[in-house]
Every structure is written in C-alpha cells, then in structure tokens.
C-alpha cells in the first residue's frame, strides 16, 4: 500500500511538472467556453439553459486532449518498457497513473467551473450538482480514455484513433451528467442520473486497469 502511494505521488509529480501543457489545457477549456456566446448568440436565457451541457462538452474535449499523457508518452520515451519488466503488478501501476490523471483533471475543472458558470450565466444553485457530476463522470472519462490510449499504443497507431474509439463510450457519461444538471435546474431530483453515472464508474473502475494492462502487454511483439 505504501508503495502504491509512492507511485501515486510520482505520477502526480510527473503531471504537475508538465505545467505548460496543463496551462494549455486550461486555456483550451476557457476558450471553448468563451466562444460559446459568440456561436450561440448572446441571449442570456439560451446560454443559461445550455450552460451545464456546454461546460460538460468543454470538459470532455479537454480530457480528450490530455489523453496523450496516458501511456502514449511513456511508450515513446521507453518508460513503458520499465513498466512491463518490473515485478510490480501492471494493473497497479496503471491504476496509480489513472488516479493521478483523474485527480488533476478534476481539480482543474473544479477551479474553472466558477468562471465558466459566470461567463454563461449559469444558476449558482447548480454548481454542487455539476461538481458531483464531475466527480463521478471525469474518472469514467479517464478510465475509458486510458483503455483507448493503451489500445493505440498496442496497435502503434496515430493517437487520433483515440478520439474515434472513444466517442461512443463517452456519450452515456455525457448524457447522464448533463441530465443530472438539467434535472436539478428543473427543480427535480438529480439522484437517478448521478446514480447511473456512479454505476458506470463502478463498472469501469475495477475492470479498466486489467484491460489496460492486457492491452499494453499485447502490444509488445
């Protein structure tokens, strides 16, 4: 367990050191949000109603952009060979990397959620539900993204393939997350949608590290 936290610590450090990359991701998120009023017209009513969906769409695109850091970079610089030849169980290494990535994307989103809500005029009462949907939904995106990343590494294909592989799996997460916020906006309970998000997470989290480990191993040859 202690070694797992050591791994987590190192993975978070590795992510944090890529500060310029992280800044670019945040900037991307903000630009997408700021462009929305120009694309959809400045009527506050429309923007207010669409705000949770727009924020989630920007978050999804941002997490897609960041997936290059999962496994693709490690395969390129040779770190993946170390991963595959250490006696430490591979799914454990994978889990540490995914958790580190999720934590950082989540903290970035938590930070950027407020200015985004302000720009789009979102009802502040929706913020807790939005945050909760991020907490449940973003790790799903990262686990799924990790699977696609491992598969592109295994096939030695262009990371653009990632996007194609992922979109169908991202759609349910997007639907349930945005529906939760919409339910809250309509003064009804968001619980059912949040529970469905939680169910996706409960399905993906225990299986993904093993799928990813198997994909990474199968790619060597």
């Amino acid at each position: 367990m202690k070694s797992f936290f050591a791994l987590l610590h190192h993975e978070i450090k590795l992510h944090l050191r890529q500060a310029s990359d992280s800044a670019a991701l945040l900037l991307f998120f903000i630009i997408v949000i700021v462009l929305m009023p120009f694309a959809l017209g400045p009527e506050p009513e429309i923007l207010r109603r669409l705000a949770p969906g727009l924020i989630w769409l920007a978050a999804l695109l941002m997490s897609l952009l960041s997936l290059d850091r999962l496994f693709v970079q490690d395969a390129r610089d040779g770190t993946l060979d170390i991963w595959l030849t250490t006696p430490t169980p591979l799914p454990l290494l994978v889990l540490a990397k995914i958790l580190a990535h999720s934590v950082l994307i989540l903290s970035a989103l938590t930070l950027m959620m407020f200015p985004a809500a302000l720009v789009l005029g979102m009802d502040a009462a929706l913020l807790p539900v939005l945050l909760l949907s991020f907490v449940l939904g973003v790790p799903c995106l990262v686990f799924l993204g990790g699977m696609a990343g491992a598969i592109t590494v295994a096939l030695q294909r262009n990371p653009a393939l990632l996007t194609l592989l992922l979109i169908p799996f991202y759609i349910p997460v997007l639907i349930f997350a945005v529906s939760a916020c919409d339910a809250a906006a309509a003064q009804t309970s968001p619980a059912s949608n949040l529970l469905l998000l939680g169910a996706i997470l409960a399905l993906v989290a225990p299986s993904a590290p093993f799928v990813i480990a198997a994909a990474l191993r199968s790619g060597q040859g």
């Binding site: 070694s3 050591a6 791994l7 610590h9 190192h10 450090k13 590795l14 050191r17 890529q18 610089d77 040779g78 770190t79 060979d81 170390i82 991963w83 595959l84 030849t85 250490t86 006696p87 430490t88 290494l93 060597q220 040859g221």
Partner: protein
C-alpha cells in the same frame, strides 16, 4: 544457469530468428552481435518477456515461460530507449524507478556516483546530453538487485569514461555470480565472453 533452447520469434508476421539455443552459467557473459535487423533487440525483448516467442527458456531448471513474474523479478532489462523524462531531475528518476520496482530505498549518493552523476543530480532530464541520459538509464543496474542483466546496446552514446564505468559494473556483477546478456556492435573488453552471432540480417 539460464538456458535457452530452440527459441524462435516472429515480428509482424516475419520470422526474426529461429531455433536459437545457448546456455549461460553463474558469472557468465553473452555478447550478442550480428547485422542490423538480425534480431538482437528482439532476442533481448523475448528474454525479458516483452515479445512473444516460441521455445524453451529455463532458469536453474524451472520453466521461465510459465512464470513471467519470476522472470521479471530476476532480470533487469535496459532497452535502447533511455526512459528519461524531460521534466524530472536525475535524482527524481532514481526515486521514480525505485517506486516502480517497489524495492527498498537504495543509497542514493553511491548510486549516483556509480555512473558519475553526482554533479548532475539536480539537473532536469531535458538538459542532459545523450551520453548523460544513457548513464542515468544505466544507474538502474545499481538501483535494483537482479541476477540477470539484459542490455540492449548499453555502450551507445557513452564516452570512454562512461564505458569504463559500465565495464566495471559488469565485472563487479559477474564476480558476484550475476549473468549478463548484452547486444552490441562495439568491441567490449570483457573477459571470457561467450559470443552469439545472429544469423542473417535483412531477410
């Protein structure tokens, strides 16, 4: 005793090498040479469990291919990529690699000194030269404790002093009964080395 019998390896549908056999005793050194594309790297990757292969490998009589976890514990593979992260310092690489392997914390100053990296300890990976990266990558030989070393072109980019440090390490390891399998084009001043010449090349 590490024995390999009738090993064959396919890569992308092409037969890279076939029916290779050799045996290596305690303190043994096997130099793998051969033309570009003759399968030296593939052989080392196969021995490390990175590439699938057919054939029999045994370690003191136990079958390697049935228990890759044990093979990973006893072997240390250093490929031709240095695995150096641009953003981590030399010292942090040692910590990271040690966390990946999950072994006890090593004595850092002596590990750094083993490949003359003490002066560079706080330099980031991006500011290291190719030879310095190589030396950093080779510190894993000191960092971890594994009886079987699998080294793919270990002398690449190393200057004369760096090579001397590496050969010292290898001699030291062999004196303790360790085994080394290294692929290289360079002449290595190694005593009693077995030589395996990979047949063929661009087939």
């Amino acid at each position: 005793m590490f024995e390999v019998h009738n090993l064959s390896c396919r890569r992308g549908g092409r037969l890279v090498f076939r029916t290779l056999s050799f045996g290596l005793g305690a303190g043994g050194f096997l130099l793998v040479n051969g033309a570009n594309g003759s399968g030296k790297s593939s052989l080392l990757r196969a021995l490390a469990g990175l590439a699938p292969c057919d054939g029999v490998m045994s370690w003191h009589g136990t079958n390697v291919t049935q228990d890759w976890m044990a093979q990973r514990e006893r072997s240390l593979y250093i490929g031709h990529l240095d695995a150096v992260k641009t953003t981590l310092t030399v010292r942090e690489h040692l910590d990271y690699w040690q966390a990946l392997r999950g072994t006890a914390k090593p004595d850092q100053p002596s590990t750094l000194e083993a490949f003359a990296l003490t002066r560079l300890a706080d330099r980031a990976g991006r500011s290291l030269s190719a030879g310095q990266k190589r030396r950093l990558s080779l510190t894993r030989l000191v960092l971890h404790d594994a009886p079987l070393w699998l080294l793919d072109e270990p002398t690449t980019a190393l200057d004369r002093d760096g090579q001397a440090l590496l050969f010292d390490r290898i001699a030291n390891h062999r004196a303790k009964g360790g085994m080394v399998i290294a692929a290289s084009h360079d002449e290595m001043p190694i005593k009693d080395a077995q030589i395996l010449t990979m047949p063929g090349g661009a087939r």
